[in-house]
């Protein structure tokens, strides 16, 4: 099949590319755009390692073709850092709590929980577990990941006191 031209906004930057119709979104991000922070784990939509945010929602980039992203917005782990290049509160909390070991599932975990905290700044533990329920991690047993998200939520609310009273005990 002939290549198709697409226009995709990734991390607020617009890209125009010619891609084969069967190229998956994750391979487009990694091999065409060079955004190698997004990983593949199972390539059948179970493990969540390839999670990115698509028009505001976390999705599996291994289950989409790049041409389906034409005209849409994608966010990847490379876009998480603050404007000054520093770590986001969520990234910093992952470091603080050692919420990773090999680091392979980490970008997917970060994108899933980044989407959560954007829509729900004060999630319960069950809501955090629901948000990462489709992301497999083989190293951590998930405990320090849940702890990281709680810590990030607490710190982010602390930075914006108007967002509500802190209710999480550390």
């Amino acid at each position: 099949m002939k290549p198709r031209e697409i226009s995709v906004t990734v991390n607020a930057k617009r890209y125009r590319s010619e891609v084969p119709p069967r190229l998956t979104l994750v391979d487009y991000l990694r091999e065409v755009l060079g955004l190698i922070g997004t990983h593949t784990g199972c390539e059948h939509g179970v493990c969540g390692a390839c999670s990115v945010i698509f028009d505001g929602q976390p999705i599996r980039s291994c289950l989409m073709f790049a041409i389906q992203a034409d005209g849409h917005e994608v966010e990847t782990v490379e876009g998480l850092a603050e404007a000054d290049g520093g770590l986001s509160p969520l990234q910093d909390a992952f470091w603080e709590t050692h919420a990773l070991q090999c680091g392979y599932c980490t970008p997917g975990m970060l994108m899933a929980t980044h989407a959560l905290l954007r829509s729900n700044p004060d999630p319960t533990v069950d809501e955090i577990k629901e948000a990462i329920g489709g992301n497999l991690c083989r190293c951590t047993g998930y405990q320090q990941i849940v702890e990281a998200v709680r810590l990030a939520a607490k710190r982010m609310r602390g930075a914006h006191p108007e967002a509500g009273k802190d209710t999480i005990d550390e």
């Binding site: 784990g41 199972c42 059948h44 493990c47 770590l87 990234q91 070991q101 090999c102 951590t140 047993g141």
Partner: protein, 800 residues
Amino acid sequence: MSSEAPDSPRFRYVSRKRRTKEDRRFIAGEGRFVADIGLPGMKHVALVTSPHPAARIDAIRTEEALKIEGVVAVITGEELAQATNPLMSGLNLPDVRRFPLAVDRARYAGEWVAAVVADSRYIAEDGAELVEVDYDPLPFVVDAEEAMAEDAPAVHPAHGTNVLYRRKFVYGAVEEDFAAADHRLAFRACWGRNSTVPIETFGVVAKWHPGTGTLDVWASIQMPKYPEQIARALRLDANCVRVHYDVDVGGSYGVKRGIKHTVLVGYLARKLGCPVRLIEDRLENMTGGDAHGPERIFDVEAAFNGDGEIRSLRLRALDNVGAYAGRAPLQLAKPIGAIVGPYRIKSVEYEAISVTTNKTPQEAVRGFGQSPTNFAIETAVDKIARTLDRDRVEIRKRNFIRKDEFPYTIPSGSEYDSGDYHTVQDKVLDLADFPALIARRDALRAEGKLAGIGIASCLEPSGGNAAFEPLFNPANETTTWMESCVTKIDLAGTVTSIMATASAGQGHETLVATVTGEELERDPDGIRVVRSDSLASLPSNSPVASRMAIMLGGAASGAAKILKRKLIDIAAHNLQLPADRLVYEGGNVAVRDDPGRSLAWDELVEIAHRKYHQMPLGMEPGLQASYVWEVPKGGELPDAAGRVRMYPCYSFEAHIPLVEIDRQTGQVKILEYFIGHDCGTMINPDIVHGMIYGGIAHGIGAALYEIFAYNDDGQLLTGTFMDYLLPSVHEIPDIKMVDHSTPSPLTSMGQKGTGEGGYLGAPAAVASAVNDALAPLGLELNALPMRPGDIEALLRTKSE
């Protein structure tokens, strides 16, 4: 043996909560995994695999595949076998030959038969679909007991039998102890075929440089003596292979061995004159990645007295290694180093049988065979308690080796260095508020629910000396399993340490920086740790055998101590005082009785790097040191009776889960999980805790969900994540942990290994809990995994 708090004040950096060195790059998406290595002109590989568990390969036609634009080459096993040597085996099995691609005969469904190389992985897969193979299906066998029958189909006809290894070890007066015991019991326990299944599959990139005659290799690797094995198979000198250890490995826990992948890709890169990459897809990983774990049938007999004393054990372990041997049969040998668990059992008989079948080959899995054996031993202890109608904790404490008995030599010849099992057990009982936990279980039962508490302990042998190699293969006289570290202080006074292995999430950079910083009294945050390549570095045996905290930590300590000594000697020379009158503090050296007289770090560095005229006569200029450390108490061969000094250090864990079983579905829900652990001095507590949490999660998977299941046609049924079930966050409870520290007397800072323990104890603990829940019904289940269907079928036998 004294115990000390984990945050012992004797350390500045060790045992403190400190951020790791590695995490920073991963959270920014800046890890560098093998799939991130892109080289100009790189080609991609896809595999053609056998659909049959056993078949003769009559013909392979590649013409149609080669017509596709972008397909560069198709190679077969016949070509590869002519150009390479067979892959190494852990046993002495000259007639069990193995090549990366099947030669003449396929021995399991999924075995690689041909490789297609193309401009992209997409095109390579197109090509693989068009390769035509004529198979003549042969009789096959997938069950280990059936494979032992005289008339069983031979997996390797030239070998003459499907038994690859069989030996009965008798340690101590087993017959007499059995005869003298008040009671005896016997049972069978089965360990299902599971594995570590990292989220990153195995991958490798190779590039041949004709000008220098070197093969550059980037791989997702955790393999001892990997460069040497590749070179040998490819008929190259070992110094022609450069393995780059600065590739991040996306999880391994044992299985990322990849020799066959690398030999294939190395051969292709050289033949085709371009870089070649093979990244397994998930199905290739699960079927033909040769990374399954042990699959064992245990026949166990125990002899014990009415007072609960366990006198003796007989263990027969029949392991199904799959279609080729590799190192997998040695996973029956390693448990000999802890064959009586943490108990004072005076004699033991152990028969190890390794059988080949038409299943995917095994690879090393977390604990190297220890977890199945621990499951068998702990199941025996539970049964002894039940037989005597005694408390399971009490029976364990009755038989635990006491703190004052270390070092303790077990009947098989290994020496446990240290431990305090009773205290750790008590600590976890306190953590769980055990009487309240029992009350909670009983309240659930009173509501009509099936609830149970699991009790299990485990040892984590650590520090690995590979003594199991000569034990199972006398032609192999390996008695060292050394590790190295190089550290240098540069002209600007900054410190860099060089390690010689890849890392798969265990935090080795943090380990080396913390230990080096501790010895030199310099902030670890400022210490850089680099992972070298195999040509530029000193020997390493990779992060296997729960050994790196001990061995790499020991090597880093050794190198740093040499540097510290050198700094003191330079100061002594310049202050014109003997070294014993000086004191080293934070990198500066001062006169003990006159602290005003001193030389600062920067001054000492300046002298070493620039002012040779101020150096002691004959001293090497600069500040650099290397240290290669032998395993503590290593260096001995097994004796004729098979007594052998195995791993030097022994960590301990005690697990207590509470579970509830759904009567309708048979599903097990873990309501609580408590663990007490003792790995001696923790170098970095967050790393230790993380590995224990993760190990428990991995063990819960082995206990309840994960299995490489085969049907009667010899086909793997669980080749995807839709059917091979890795636990998600919903299956893993909040784990509550209590630390204890019994420092090892054999290591640089009292540390022991910790990466395996969670997985070594959790399967036994969860099984114990399930059986406690089933006990009121008079039911029991001694086969893992205990899937909902298995439990539901068992419950149905009671209701019918």
